[in-house]
Symmetry: D2
Subunit: 331 residues, 4 copies
């Protein structure tokens, strides 16, 4: 049976990626692609990669008018939009996956009586499976948590954590701003949010929930490319760590996770672009554990992970509709 | 029944794209991926996009040892390699699709008694269907011929043609050269081949075969991007052309061609990247007809078109295995 | 004696380049850098390349309050701003160089009784020298006119002109818009303005003024780079042209022009970036003359040419303050 | 009096930048630009930015034949070349500045009896002034040491150091290799040298010489841009550090250094590109000190620093010939 899916805020970069993924998902049917700003426009005019699909954006209110019990609604609009929309959608019997940060922090993870589950499947697979409201993690938290969570068993020995993160510019969204112009991003690597980035509390919450309460320093940087995020995470321990034990922890953590690839060589943004994959490489350098973690900020960092959560919420195989990257293999 | 497919010269950019396409083709089975220079290496180490596939390159001689009657062999090596290999492959009963320029020109389109068919399906669909040896067109000729061939019925009125072509750098291949270095290609648009480009005779031959014998000026240029080619072709006529008649000619020419999209708005390289699509826009400006033609130089300009030819040669639907671009729809 | 210089609209890309050039000009003193939107901000915060200069933007009205007879005012704001400001500036005895299109077309090239001279020094050197109001040409017209004007003596034999133009994205300005975002410009070549571009009347006027009244087709395209413009111009003649005569015409036209470099090899955007240089290569292909013309859209296409006009207007050597590109030589 | 300057290995990227800088240096005269591979070629054909200079490369042996006592020789060739050439050059009475890593490590910092001085002026200004052989630091060590050396007074409290470094691709040189191709570098951030990078011993030596013997983890990464390097260095302390004391240490360290700019906001690669500047920002996050350090890998990381050393060796003002970046001010 085909699950009806709706997208709110469909004309942003995460929205476009959701359209791409849901259109080819074998168990989903895309019922509504709502965008207030692009109502009536061809999806392919906004996202050239999607011209073959032949869809038009629906206008404001379309999801609310169209939603039925059992449907899935992906909220891909600006921060704040899901908080406004979710109660009615849940009341209508829909399941909601929110890609904004409206419900990620525990102190406000509630909509009309429903409590959101933090949608990082590699950590909360079971809870997601029974959730009606999922808070899809941010791109920086996703890459960072995948890099660091397996170190939880060594938490007591960690003096401090360093998170050096480089993001492609689609992470900044499609809303025009001077700092996202080609002429500003090109030929530069730009650190930003140096006195506090909006994703830090989310990272802090989830590291702490895993027992990783060592202080961390987070350095987000924009790199001149479209899609991709590389997080280099470093755990400085009070004593040398055992490489075998560390590697074993990562193998245990991700043994059952189809989208996490543990590598001996370096991760590659091109290897994960347009996919839901994460590539992780861990190594030990005396007292320091270094973890390199690569994802597509729009894939595993946004829309891909949202579809992974959708699969879990509807009892589908976790990889359903997601196996195919650009270098895809037959399903 | 699955058709066994082999690739000779599999570690170049066209070879990598063939691996990607044939791996997911529902009627093909990839039997050999031969690369003398990368024998034994993981395909995913050379092409990060293909890590999920889990293949290794075969060494020199693997195709010859492995080929059987009825198989398909794609020659994606350097120019000259197919001329050496084709006679034995044909004698073994294989069908051969050559992506080099070894057999494109009529005066040398013959291998061991077999005459090659020029593999532009939009023009030679029937001949390709019964061919045993296909010369897959070059990327510049493909984009140019798709742009200009429908003007054949106006040939007598054309004073001269201008072909202004911009290509992504993968068109120059994976063999290291100073002119393909990032630091040389970045922040520049580089005209080259100004005193004669290797693709000109191929363009000349096929324009003439269609009756378009007006002189043409060809200006190839490298642009700083990976995949994509935009040809702006101009036909200067001796008298104003009728826009309706011209547009009608394009509609007639491509009515049955599933990969050619006629547009009112501008073509986009991002719309055709990683696909076998071509986007074409024609307009009339007094005496001048302007045709914009966009393809992926590795897709419709190389590997995609090779698979399209494969489909025709084996009696499959022309779109088989090729409908899915990055923004793919279910087949 | 130092000439006092003022910039109106100093926080756009052309404004930033004017600041850079005028700061190091040996005969100019930068008196005012007015920007309504960036008033009080460090120039180096907006233009990182200019951090060493240590200037701040002045607020709205600063130029008007500060201008004196004999000063030079560069208008680098949005189209329309100069038309409003010029009459008072001229009345105050200043000379005005406008980089917008407010005064480029003859039918509206007048401000408070003063008639603007079209500021292409290679054509109007003498008139500029005695002008009080100069309309600095657009980037597309500059590259196009430099390419085509020397063909005026062959005008009668030209059937049609083709102008295929590729521009770096700074040509679109610093005002945020979706079409200038990195994620939209990257990995694409984007034709635009296909049904009429704002620069066409300017090109038409100046070609006609030179006797080149053959119809032209103009195809502007955005390429993924910051600074640079390559125009490939083609003149289709009614009969083959003589290569020697054509080349001689270019040598005559630019013999006394210090910024135009006639080349045998291909022009390069990197060769002209951050300079006032133009590189031109002309060749004859039967009936078609092909001219490749490369400039920096912010240099010879905007701020560099404005300073060249400034030099002429104040009786300075044409190259004064402009000899130094990135690969500069000592003056 | 003009100092005669020679370049060995002039056709690499550092060589090209040396040509650019020395051509405009008021006290240097470029006597020889030797390149075995480009002998006789126009410099402007290899480096389009240098077309105005109008030089040709000299062939192998030209420096040896041309050098005189008192001259300066810059060795910009591949590693190993300077070790072969330096003894004779020194014997001829020349001063030698080597940009390779031939003389950087103390255990082999000797040529024909002359001991090389490590050419980081911000640390060894006095020794450089009296040196006859200078080992110009690598780009990664330069950015890293500028970031970390001022922390020497806190060395005892440092548990471990993390050096996360991103480099533009010109750092890999002009010799063609697959990993430097545009199509490989574009749209990726590529960690490399993960099991040991050639620059690590140099960093280790100089950190130790300053008393910074805490273990460090070094992660070099290639980013898709031409020129620029951003090092994010982190010192994890055993107890929280005092922000005021740390900042004061940086101000003391760089008070007399004209090329180091201490910033409150983020450093920018565009701000330092084509210059000898370094931008540094230090902040304290509990136990972790974070230092962001930006240089041009070809400027302060290679040729610019070599000219700075040249100035010191010849008793010239340290900034001589180097004040002018792209956004240059008059000297």
């Amino acid at each position: 049976v085909t699950i009806r899916a709706h997208i709110l805020g469909a004309s942003g970069y995460a929205g476009g990626e959701l359209i791409r993924l849901l259109t080819r998902h074998p168990d989903a049917g895309l019922a509504t692609v709502e965008s207030a700003s692009c109502a009536g426009e061809e999806v392919g005019a906004v996202f050239p990669e999607l011209r073959r699909i032949g869809l038009r954006f629906d206008g404001a209110g379309a999801v609310a008018a169209n939603v039925r019990a059992g449907d899935a609604v992906f909220c891909a609009g600006t921060h704040g939009a899901a908080r406004a929309a979710a109660p009615a959608l849940l009341a209508a019997g829909a399941k909601v996956i929110d890609l904004s940060d409206d419900f990620r922090l525990a102190e406000r993870a509630e909509a009309g009586g429903t409590v959101a589950v933090y949608g990082l499947p590699e950590r909360y697979r079971a809870q997601i499976a029974s959730a009606r409201l999922v808070a899809n993690p941010g791109c920086y938290p996703t890459a960072t948590l995948l890099a660091l969570l397996p170190l939880a068993e060594f938490a007591g020995a960690i003096e401090a954590l360093v998170i050096d993160a480089k993001s492609g510019i689609t992470g900044a969204g499609r809303t025009p701003s001077a700092s996202s112009l080609f002429a500003e991003v090109d030929e530069d690597v730009r650190p930003y949010g140096l006195t506090g980035h909006r994703h830090e509390p989310e990272i802090a919450q989830e590291l702490a929930a895993a027992g990783l309460s060592a202080p961390f320093t987070f350095t987000p940087q924009v790199v001149p490319l479209r899609r991709g995020m590389l997080v280099c995470a470093y755990a400085v321990m009070r004593a040398p760590a055992g490489e075998d034990a560390v590697r074993a922890a990562y193998r245990r953590a991700y043994g059952g996770s189809p989208f996490v690839r543990l590598l001996d060589g370096p991760p590659s943004l091109r290897a994960v672009a347009w996919s839901n994959d994460a590539e992780i490489r861990v190594s030990v350098h005396g007292q320091t554990v270094r973890v390199l973690s690569a994802i597509d900020n729009l894939g595993k960092g946004a829309a891909g992970q949202a579809v992974q959560n959708f699969n879990l919420m509807y009892g589908l195989a976790e990889e359903r509709g997601l196996q195919a990257s650009r270098g895809e293999i037959r399903t």
